[in-house]
Symmetry: C2
Subunit: 326 residues, 2 copies
């Protein structure tokens, strides 16, 4: 007999000893009850992941569990919010215990690392679909927003030490059969795609330093566009300063630019900060254990200009990834 | 050209003038920011709806938009929490503007009636899937829980004035071709299935009166089982006291009991309260504009006993609906 829904919830998503105990009342009632920290605001974000759109059927369940939570934590990071708790809704075509065990292992490993708790959710039969909603806390007025970029600010992007942006897109191109890579190179970029690291510590460190921030989920150009529109400014990017991993740096220049500028799935922070904040930004990154790179600047003139090393404008057609038209 | 994801979000889910303005920062940033009311706890619940499981392809989009939010608000009602805000994640096979317009209309009509705000979410391409997470507030210690039922308490169920429980299941049996109904009767029970009314006002009114509460989503027997297990008690139900609509009351006794006891999708409140609270319960229901019916009592002996009018125990095999084994 197949495991029923309630047994399934108990077996994989109820934890005998809570690694973090933030909820007054957790899984098993109609609602979870949480006690907000007095004076703080709540940051809420929600991402839905669909097979074939946000992950491939080839992803190991453990990495998928990690990624489903990571992409949500990345939104909290982009707001400078401290993660507190999350809910998980899961539609599964069938009860697949190997999948559930791996998924739960990957998800809870990241939850434990961030000291946050699964406080509720839903499971149902249906085409594979993962929906996580995360909650974080931030002092009033200190959240990093998209609308605060000002002309003259420097434009920064985070990246793994020794890594860069665009690797997830490069991995996708390999899966699509458009690019060939050696086994080690493929594993490196596949890991970037399947095991993104939310920049939570950096987001917290950028409070009071960054004038605007967003996380890179749909590609640098598209995501930067949101910041520019909401802030009423433009920007220029020095494309030769884009941080690239050794693997991507060995690809053609056209592929480098496509992956780094329009890649998607990077889950790095793109942020602006006044020039006076540079030392603070570098210190925040060092404290968070990640690298940051200054890649351009915010300008008063609307639009985005991509510049080569000589300062000449490149004519590139890059678009933000769009889940319906992309 | 098809509407892109961002245009779609703007067109249907951004409202020019917010009917309720609870969010410090709403849709359009990485996170929504909410300011909790000092001293209150947050109640959080999350439900995912999948076509063919939780609704049929025949449901009018406006009713689906209503129902997706209603089933989540029902969880807040069962906790006695006051709704504040919600997020929506939506996977759609294609951009269908007629569907989106109707869905948004039904969802926002209920949101406006409850004075709550859509504060964020996600849209993506994929098999139709709706995931809503709701947030409410409740004073510490006043949430209605599942674990507070005590032997001697009366067992109550809410229902629409002039209606009852089990109609949604009866409608499902008609859709399945198992039962035939006249057009008016079918529309009445179909409305119960597609347009459930979350008992938010009743849930608030039951604070301090009910010893335990749950909302009826999977069927009375199954949902009551959660309360009994968590409270460490048993119960008896006088089946002849179950509130039935005129339509269900005209069906066979076997179908009546199947629909009322194991129906699912009722979204009424099932709650226990000490006998001394009876006048208060009736007053709370009257103030909320709904009916309540005393259907049995909580007992020390474990298990559930179904009794006929003479007090004899019925031998019925009814199970709670389970999304995987049901």
């Amino acid at each position: 007999m197949a495991l029923g829904e309630f047994d399934l919830i108990r077996k994989y998503f109820t934890r005998p000893t809570q690694a973090a105990r933030t909820a007054v009342l957790g899984i098993g009632d109609d609602c979870a009850l949480l006690q907000p920290t007095p004076g703080l605001q709540w940051a809420v974000s929600c991402d839905m992941l669909v097979e074939g759109r946000h992950f491939l059927a080839t992803v190991p369940p453990e990495r998928l569990g990690h990624k489903a939570l990571a992409v949500n934590l990345s939104d909290l990071a982009a707001c400078g919010a401290k993660p507190v708790a999350f809910t998980l809704a899961l539609a599964l075509p069938r009860v697949d215990e190997a999948f559930l065990a791996g998924f739960a292992r990957g998800m809870f490993a990241l939850a434990d690392a961030q000291h946050i708790e699964l406080v509720g959710g839903d499971t149902t039969a249906g085409p594979l679909n993962l929906c996580i909603t995360v909650f974080g806390e931030v002092p009033p007025g200190q959240a990093l927003r998209r609308d605060g970029a000002r002309a003259g600010d420097a434009l920064w992007v985070s990246h793994a030490i020794g890594g860069g942006i665009g690797d997830a897109r490069l991995a996708l191109e390999v899966f699509r059969g458009q690019v060939g890579l050696g086994a080690d190179d493929f594993e490196a970029v596949r890991r970037a795609m399947e095991w993104p690291q939310p920049r939570v510590a950096l987001g917290l460190g950028l409070r009071g330093l960054a004038s605007a921030a967003i996380d890179l989920s749909d590609g640098l150009v598209g995501d930067l566009g949101h910041v520019l529109r909401r802030s009423g400014v433009g920007a220029s990017i020095q494309v030769d300063t884009l941080p690239l991993s050794p693997v991507l740096a060995r690809q053609s220049r056209a592929l480098q630019l496509e992956c780094a500028l329009a890649g998607g799935d990077d889950y790095e922070l793109l942020f602006s900060a006044p020039p006076s904040a540079e030392a603070g930004v570098l210190a925040a990154a060092a404290a968070a254990g990640v690298a940051v790179r200054r890649i351009g600047r915010i300008e008063a003139a609307a639009g985005l200009r991509l510049l080569d090393a000589a300062g000449a404008e490149l004519a590139l057609a890059v678009q933000g990834f769009d889940h319906f038209s992309g």
